[in-house]
């Protein structure tokens, strides 16, 4: 089984968080495109072949839930939600939208690693 790097689209409107997430995921060996709005995410996804969507839920121009509902009409993608809210209704809503994981901020890097590892295994099986 090969371990190909993942192509990851990170959507996060908080600049500092976006910066360290991008750095962390790149340092883990993956290729990253980082955007800050739903609009930019939509445009980037259309022209990229990203394997994983890592998206904040509360964005300045919409929600991560809305974003995934749009993107999965284009093509399936392994999606991980990030949110400052971890109430059961939020995690249920993320699952209903199609997110495989709902990570509560501040993001635990171990949980992020596990989600990306799972995404990598799924990609390798395809």
């Amino acid at each position: 089984m090969t371990e190909q790097p993942l192509r990851i689209l990170i959507v996060e409107d908080h600049q500092d968080t976006l910066k360290y997430l991008k750095l962390y995921v790149e340092q883990s060996g993956h290729a990253v495109q980082a955007v800050r709005t739903l609009k930019e995410a939509r445009e980037t996804f259309a022209t990229s072949e990203c394997d994983v969507l890592l998206s904040d839920i509360a964005l300045s121009d919409g929600t991560g839930w809305d974003l995934l509902n749009e993107l999965k009409l284009v093509r399936p993608v392994y999606a991980v939600a990030m949110s400052g809210f971890g109430m059961i209704e939020d995690t249920n809503r993320s699952k209903a939208a199609g997110f495989r994981h709902h990570l509560v901020k501040p993001i635990d890097p171990d949980l992020l690693d596990r989600a990306l590892e799972e995404a990598r295994h799924e990609k390798d099986r395809m």
């Binding site: 968080t17 997430l21 750095l23 962390y24 340092q27 400052g84 109430m87 059961i88 501040p106 890097p109």
Partner: protein
Amino acid sequence: MSADGSHEPNEAEVAARISELTRSLIAALDAEQQRFAQLLHDTSSQSLNAARIYARIARTTLDQTSSSAATTLTALEEAVENAANETQHVLHWLRPARLERCGLFESLMALTELTSRSVPCLFHCEKVADVDATDAEVQQEVLRIAQLALHALVRSGGVGAGSPPLRVELDLDDREIVLKIRASEGRALPSELTALLEARARIQSGSLMFEHSGPGSTWICRLPKGP
């Protein structure tokens, strides 16, 4: 009527005014606590997590070049991780517990699981469906009283990781919902907290009592179930 013609409040009016002021004071305390929790979440908690991740990045980058630097960074990462976890723990206790859509039973389960990170804590409730059917404000108050009492027992009541478990029991009858918190160590809650909890219960037309039960202590909060 007083000698100067002004209205002298009667006993009932005084009691009502005291109740109103107590309710306002408690709401203000909760709001201030929530504000502080939000501030801590938005600042220190986020910064600590960023530091933790940067330390991990630096440590992983240096792993192959300088073993002593990597060792130091490993220690830094662990220290920051501990600080971040402790901040999260404080945040959980500070933020007034919110009932989730699943109701009081699930919320108390989550609270006792959180408590169990510090000291063993068991939860027992038989009439789950009936509990969740009680008045929402009453449910919220039961949860808040449980949160404040458990937090105090963990922090200042002398109950530690090696102690017998705390026990949280929830029951209800035709008229009341009853919350019991048992601690086997026989320690008391701080008197000012007990007074606050009694006041919270009274606002809901309920009561809070304390009794010695063998070598331990039990706090019993009774609140009317509501309309």
